[in-house]
């Protein structure tokens, strides 16, 4: 017997939790599925397990929302992967090696964001991880690097982690800012005014790092990680063309975040290129609905805007579904959406500035650089495929196997698109990302064989 719900939400981060709570309040039958063992997404990872004495205001808001979610006893399926969604919607789930199916009138994708894949020579060595991975370990495992860590990249998250690490007693060998020098981008006065607290916070992080005497290198490029079996040294060049070679045991990299649009794309949602943010996101209307009827997206998965904005867009999506299913009073829903829209505008005022300020550098990619970690495909092989007649990313995928491994193009999609589009004298906006096919997450032969045909 297939379970039936009115709204299935994928992702238990700020947007998913907010949507679940609001939808439940509006009387909808909701199921929230998430691949983590506990709610909170990435930003509030392990929030129920962490010692609250270190919490800041954002953490406290997160814990409050998680507790409210728990108290409402909303149907919640942790450690659950969504691996296929068929029209109707028939949502295929996988949890502890068991497959199940849920019928949902509407689906809300609140899958959040992921680090922008940023390949560089040696990036597959143990000892090289993302800043996000460092943050997750701090939150979910209460652990920090043993030896001084190098932090490379661009964007506020790298600064934030650096301050968190210092506060926890960790040591930083150096900050390598890869933001292209002379980035003359300034926020509009209106944006700056409404986002003053964010700006002040950012400046505060920089001050903390400088005060700790940590070397900061600017305009860093040609970063290489070297080592035999694991990282032992890094080399890089700064804005003044000075070359460095430094001992290193751990390097954390961060080049911004991009929306996780994998499932939306697979379902045929129209994807839009945001040039400021140099990334694709599903096209949504004022209610968060995509070009696929009944499919909604909220949170960073619809466009990077942070946790507070994600909560707002989660609520808006819940209202959108309510409207679709004729729940609640139309006038009330419209009025609430307008209030939320105002709050949204205030929260995202700085977005465009931050996006453009921290737009990733387009450093040249050597032929021998590994682009596809799963199938070991280099940039040179991708270029050869294009030269041999492959006219787009999907053909390149067919010829080289790039994007055919377990991650199904999540880690190599953007770099591959960039390399292919450059080779074709085109743009990533034109080239697009790999066509996504199910299963969105691997399932086993035995699990598939066990699916009963319910007609």
């Amino acid at each position: 017997m297939t379970k039936s719900v009115e709204l299935l939400i994928v992702g238990a981060g700020p947007a998913g939790l907010s949507a679940a709570v609001r939808a439940h309040e509006l009387g909808m039958r909701v199921l929230l599925a998430d691949d983590q063992p506990a709610p909170g997404g990435q930003i509030w990872r392990a929030i129920e397990r962490r010692a609250t004495k270190h919490f800041d205001a954002e953490d406290r808001k997160g814990l409050e929302l998680v507790r409210r979610f728990r108290s409402l006893a909303i149907d919640y399926s942790p450690s659950t992967e969504v691996w296929q969604i068929e029209p109707g919607f028939q949502v295929f789930l996988r949890s502890s090696g068991t497959l199940s199916k849920v019928q949902a009138n509407a689906v809300l994708l609140a899958c959040g964001a992921m680090e922008r894949p940023a390949p560089f020579p040696g990036w597959t060595l143990p000892g090289v991880i993302t800043v996000g991975a460092g943050q997750i370990m701090l939150k979910s495992a209460n652990q920090i690097p043993q030896e001084p860590v190098w932090i490379a990249g661009s964007g506020p998250l790298a600064l934030l982690y650096a301050t968190q690490l210092l506060k926890a007693g960790g040591r930083i060998a150096g900050m390598l800012d890869t933001t292209p020098p002379n980035r003359n981008v300034w926020p509009t006065p209106a944006a700056a005014l409404s986002a003053t607290s964010d700006i002040l916070r950012g400046l505060g992080w920089l001050k903390t790092i400088r005060r700790a005497g940590i070397p900061i290198f600017r305009g860093v490029h040609d970063l290489r990680a070297e080592g035999d079996e694991k990282l032992s040294r890094i080399t890089f060049v700064d804005a003044d063309n000075k070359h460095y070679a430094e001992d290193a045991r751990l390097l954390m990299i961060h080049e911004g975040v991009v929306p996780r649009g994998h499932i939306a794309s697979a379902l045929g949602s129209e994807m839009v290129w945001n040039d400021d943010a140099a990334s694709f996101a599903p096209k949504i209307d004022a209610w968060g609905e995509t070009s696929v009827a009944g499919l909604f997206v909220a949170g960073d998965g619809a466009g990077i805007a942070g946790a507070a904005a994600a909560c707002v867009s989660g609520k808006v999506a819940a209202l959108g579904v309510a409207q679709m299913l004729n729940k609640g009073r139309k006038e009330d829903i419209q009025a609430e959406r307008q209030r939320l829209a105002k709050e949204w505008n205030r929260l995202v005022a700085l977005r465009s500035f931050l996006d453009r300020r921290y737009r990733p550098a387009s450093a040249p990619i050597d032929d021998d650089m590994m682009v596809c970690r799963c199938e070991n495909v280099t940039a040179g092989e991708l270029r050869d495929a294009v030269r041999g007649g492959a006219a787009g990313v999907n053909q390149v995928k067919a010829y080289t196997r790039c994007g055919m491994g377990p991650c199904q193009g999540r880690q190599c999609g953007y770099p591959a698109a960039r390399i292919v589009s450059e080779q074709l004298n085109s743009t990533v906006a034109e080239t697009g990302l790999f066509r996504v096919r199910p299963p969105y997450r691997p399932i086993t032969m035995g699990e598939l064989a066990s699916i009963e045909d319910e007609g």
């Binding site: 068929e86 007649g389 053909q395 055919m404 199910p438 299963p439 032969m445 699916i451």
Partner: protein, 377 residues
């Protein structure tokens, strides 16, 4: 709009279009090939690339045996071996219930003078496919059938055709075809092509192209699905199918298991769109796990489905148009087209240039559906 004048226009950038274009160009004609999306976008790019004479219908068997000779020396034909490995094809009867159909087939083959299919027993099967469960009854075996790499094959035919002077234009879907004196004028997205002859190799959309020159065909569509697992150590050498199961099972030369055989997904022809049906795929997975114990923990990384044409008798049409002058049809391979590619190209070149061919396509006529309908009345 650019206007191109040529001798022969080939419509469709799949393997059959490329093969025909190649052979026509090699016989000295100017050829333009128009492809609506990109080379190998549909059936050819989604093929399991089985190189199979085993189990063929009599009507395309001789053409298939001719194609087999080319497959054994693809470098001579297109400058690349296309990843072809002759590890054999096997069709197994798991229980005695499946034996009569195998025996009947062997008798028919031998009566007609064919010896390439042989009947083998459990010991021989265990030697050839040690990974298969031991409880099987018999199998038909063709030792020098095998499988190739579909994308290497596409690349090889594309390169050979281009090297022979074929002008290949992608993103040029043909929207209309008109008569222009003794020639044909095809209107595509940004170009118009004036050609004396046309080859219709438009795959699942061949009936639409045929209609533009006045031919009517009832063409069905197949959206065959395939499961691709993670890579594993060498596990099975031949391509395996089983009586009574929709299953074709092989290991690619990258190590992935490719499990197909005609499991049908969902499709929308006008949108060039297919989608897998996991309820149907479950049957394929079950069949594979029953036939090959130990597969349960293998991870499935992806699943795909490709669009191809289906004719009422599952045999292709390789024939001149019954009504339109200087038009040749090569379509409707119904899931069995890959192996025929090298030979079909020669047959089409013969038809286009000589108006006839000595090759074995007499059972693949365009008019046979009308004939069959008449005979049925």
């Amino acid at each position: 709009m650019d206007r191109i004048e040529t001798d022969v226009l080939v419509i469709g950038g799949g393997l059959h279009g490329l093969s025909a274009a190649l052979q026509i160009a090699r016989r000295g004609k100017k050829v333009v090939l128009l492809e609506r999306a990109h080379i190998g976008r549909h059936a050819s790019g989604a093929s399991a690339a089985g190189v199979r004479t085993l189990g063929r219908h009599f009507e395309d068997l001789d053409l298939s045996l001719e194609a087999k000779r080319y497959w054994s020396d693809m470098p001579a034909l297109v400058g690349d071996d296309c990843g072809f490995h002759a590890h054999g094809q096997l069709r197994v009867a798991e229980t005695s219930a499946g034996l009569p159909s195998l025996e009947r087939r062997i008798r028919q083959m031998h009566d007609l003078g064919y010896r390439h299919e042989v009947l083998i027993g459990p010991e021989e099967i265990a030697r050839i496919v040690p990974a298969m469960k031991r409880e099987v009854t018999a199998a038909i075996w063709v030792a020098d059938d095998g499988a190739a790499d579909p994308h290497r094959t596409l690349k090889a035919f594309f390169n050979a055709a281009a090297a022979s002077g074929v002008k290949i234009l992608e993103r040029e879907g043909v929207q209309a075809i008109e008569r222009a004196g003794n020639d044909w004028l095809a209107v595509a997205r940004t170009v118009r092509v004036l050609a004396h002859s046309i080859v219709n190799a438009a795959g699942a959309w061949s009936h639409q192209i045929a209609a533009m020159v006045g031919d009517h065909f009832e063409l069905g569509t197949k959206a065959s699905m395939m499961i691709v697992t993670e890579r594993i150590e060498p596990f099975v050498a031949p391509v395996v199918s089983a009586v009574g199961r929709t299953l074709s099972f092989k290991q690619s030369d990258r190590g992935t298991l490719v499990i197909g055989g005609g499991l049908q997904g969902r499709y929308a022809l006008d949108r060039e769109w297919t989608e897998p049906s996991f309820a149907v795929l479950a049957d394929g997975a079950k069949a594979a796990c029953e036939l090959f114990p130990g597969l349960e923990q293998l991870r499935i990384n992806r699943v795909w489905s490709g669009l191809e044409a289906k004719t009422p008798d599952l045999l292709p049409v390789i024939d001149l148009s019954p009504t339109a002058p200087d038009v040749a049809h090569v379509f409707g391979f119904s899931g069995h087209g890959f192996q025929l590619v090298p030979a079909a190209g020669f047959a089409v070149a013969d038809l286009v240039i000589d108006g006839k061919t000595p090759r074995a396509i007499s059972g693949l006529k365009a008019t046979r559906f009308a004939d069959q309908a008449k005979a049925a009345e």
